[in-house]
Symmetry: C2
Subunit: 343 residues, 2 copies
DNA sequence: CAGCGCACCGAAAACGTTTGCGATGCAGCA
DNA sequence: TGCTGCATCGCAAACGTTTTCGGTGCGCTG
């Protein structure tokens, strides 16, 4: 059931059929009606490979995420919700979302180059942005549409959306200081992810704005951002001569490990230690005491990412009222019971 | 940089280049070496569209999952780990995994038909298998390779892997009965998902094997399998004249809601009520008291699914030592502190 | 030397689609 | 009538690849 079958069934040329199906203006209204009717009747659907070959476009968009081969998660379900938002935005454009899982033992840059070389996707979402991320320059140079989930120091102007770490640090520190805290620890990723640097800078600025000195010992860079990572980060903070009375975490998964370590030290989280985190997954509501955290509307973030990508793709730019998307994503503080005043 | 450029650069025909790249035997060893060298040097990578068009194959495999548009999750990170396992198995075959998110307001059968019609994938994983699932007959009839994550009553022999609900029900009920429980509630999905029926049958069989009568009131079918669903299921069980002393849940997300409802009723989970669940996500370790649950090695399950699919695809069958995969996936009980004897 | 088989390679068709170009017919206008 | 312009459509090329078919040259055998 190709376009040829459809044409011979209607006794017209394949060119006319193609034009009718694609809504071109130079085809008679009655002819178009007959074509669409026959297509529906015979169950004709265009072959994507043929179309891609001719147009040089695949109608597929890749979302590149990095895999943790050991735990088997990629982003702790962080991305699942983002996908949904992207999909919602893509539905109207007949675009397919292709999740590209870069294995952790593979170099993200090499992986990306292979994907691009295969011409498998028309555009890309990239995440886990490094401080100096070669993928960005590569994509800009090749003129491949993309949007980054996260900022980078890499040169060139390109679309990106990042979480509002400045806002988080400011609100969290202000809140803790208002409650009487003076020694506030921060746990960020210890990898070359740029967000660790951004978060740390925002944290230092927030401390300074509150007239507090920055103590390097209170900044823990954790290789893992998992429960294990949280455990060890709490361990490091508790080992200090002058312990902090509050901890600010980059996600809420680490809070599980922090709670565990606190309990082992005979401390009760939310009483002997204040904890604030960022919420990545809806399942975070379990923690007891309830974690005070910053809520991310991930579906909306996904939608916005999709809009930003479409706006940078010539074929879809007209459908988007936006220009170059470069913005931070605001987050709302959800008060829990984990950050009381110090004892 | 097409195969034509490569050929003219080497002063040989494109056919020879293609044969050399694809490892055909009818090409001189020296010629092959030169071709591979030039391909690497010039950075040539075959165009997937051209290849797909000629061969009628796309090198892409779809994984169809259903989306919950409200919460934004699809399977509570259940699938994230499965993807990783699939990807591990696919890596050697140069297959791409395409995640196909069926919106919740779309009919899965219609969605599947559109995907198939577009010839976008060579094979499919389907999940969320209904009791009578029209997708299965459709795929069998069209001779499209697939494997189902879940059993179904739909006719025809096809590859599938399902969780070992019989084993779960037997072990859980035996364990609870051995500890003195006599009234054990079961919470299963209230939708047409087949797993709800399978689990309920296994539960009844396990009760019977222990000489216990089946009380229909103790079987709660919950529309939602989320935290909310768990809350309401616990609500229903607590409203009974004769309350159960233990609850068996279909996943651990519901346990969050169950715990909450128990606390509201002045009951302490793991003391006034025994709770056992299935573990879908590694983050489940947070619950306090620790949930006694059945652990699923999701990465391995993903690998096995991929093997089962490959074994059913003519192009890859030879690489797999397996035949038709139809099996249940064993799960190990991880003892927590949530299922003590009744008070 | 004739004949045969084999290794290797080039030519060309085919996959299904889109699109530029030209052809046709017809209405409108001078 | 003759010319122009427009609406509509057919023809054919092109996208990049794989694969069949046939051809060439060589070595070997009888």
């Amino acid at each position: 059931m190709s376009i040829r079958d459809l044409a011979s069934h209607l006794n017209i040329s394949i060119g006319t059929v193609s034009r009718a199906l694609n809504g071109r203006s130079d085809v008679n209204a009655e002819t178009r009606r007959r074509v669409l009717e026959a297509a529906a009747e015979l169950g004709y659907v265009p072959n994507q490979s043929g179309r891609s070959l001719r147009q040089g476009t695949t109608n597929a968009i890749g979302f590149m995420v990095e895999t943790n081969s050991e735990t088997g998660t990629h982003g702790d379900s962080f991305f699942s919700s983002i996908y949904v938002g992207v999909q919602k935005e893509f539905a109207a454009h007949h675009l397919d979302l292709v999740v590209l899982l870069c294995p952790s033992d593979d170099d993200p840059y090499d992986y990306l180059r292979r994907v691009v070389a295969r011409r498998f996707v028309d555009g890309l979402f990239i995440s886990a942005i490094q401080r100096h991320d070669p993928r960005i320059d590569f994509l800009i140079e090749r003129e491949i549409p993309f949007i980054a989930l996260g900022r980078s120091l890499s040169g060139g102007s390109h679309p990106w959306i990042d979480l509002d770490f400045e806002g988080v640090a400011t609100k969290a520190v202000n809140r803790l200081v208002a409650r009487g805290h003076r020694r506030i620890g921060l746990v960020t990723p210890g990898t070359e992810l740029n967000l660790g640097y951004v978060f740390a800078d925002a944290y230092r600025a927030a401390l300074s704005a509150n007239g507090l000195a920055y103590d390097p010992g209170l900044l823990v860079r954790s290789e893992q951002t998992s429960e294990e990572g949280g455990y060890h980060a709490a361990d490091a903070l508790l080992a200090l001569d002058q312990r902090p009375t509050a901890m600010l975490l980059v996600n809420e998964i680490m809070a599980i490990g922090v709670y565990r370590r606190l309990h082992e030290a005979g401390l009760t989280p939310g009483r002997d230690m204040a904890v604030i985190g960022l919420r990545h997954s809806p399942q975070a509501r379990f923690l007891s005491p309830a974690l005070t955290c910053f809520d991310i509307s991930l579906i909306d973030l996904g939608r916005r990412l999709a809009q930003g990508l479409l706006a940078s793709m010539p074929a879809y730019r007209d459908s988007q009222p936006f220009g170059l998307v470069q913005e931070v994503w605001p987050m709302e503080l959800v008060a829990g019971e984990s950050d009381p005043p110090p004892r």
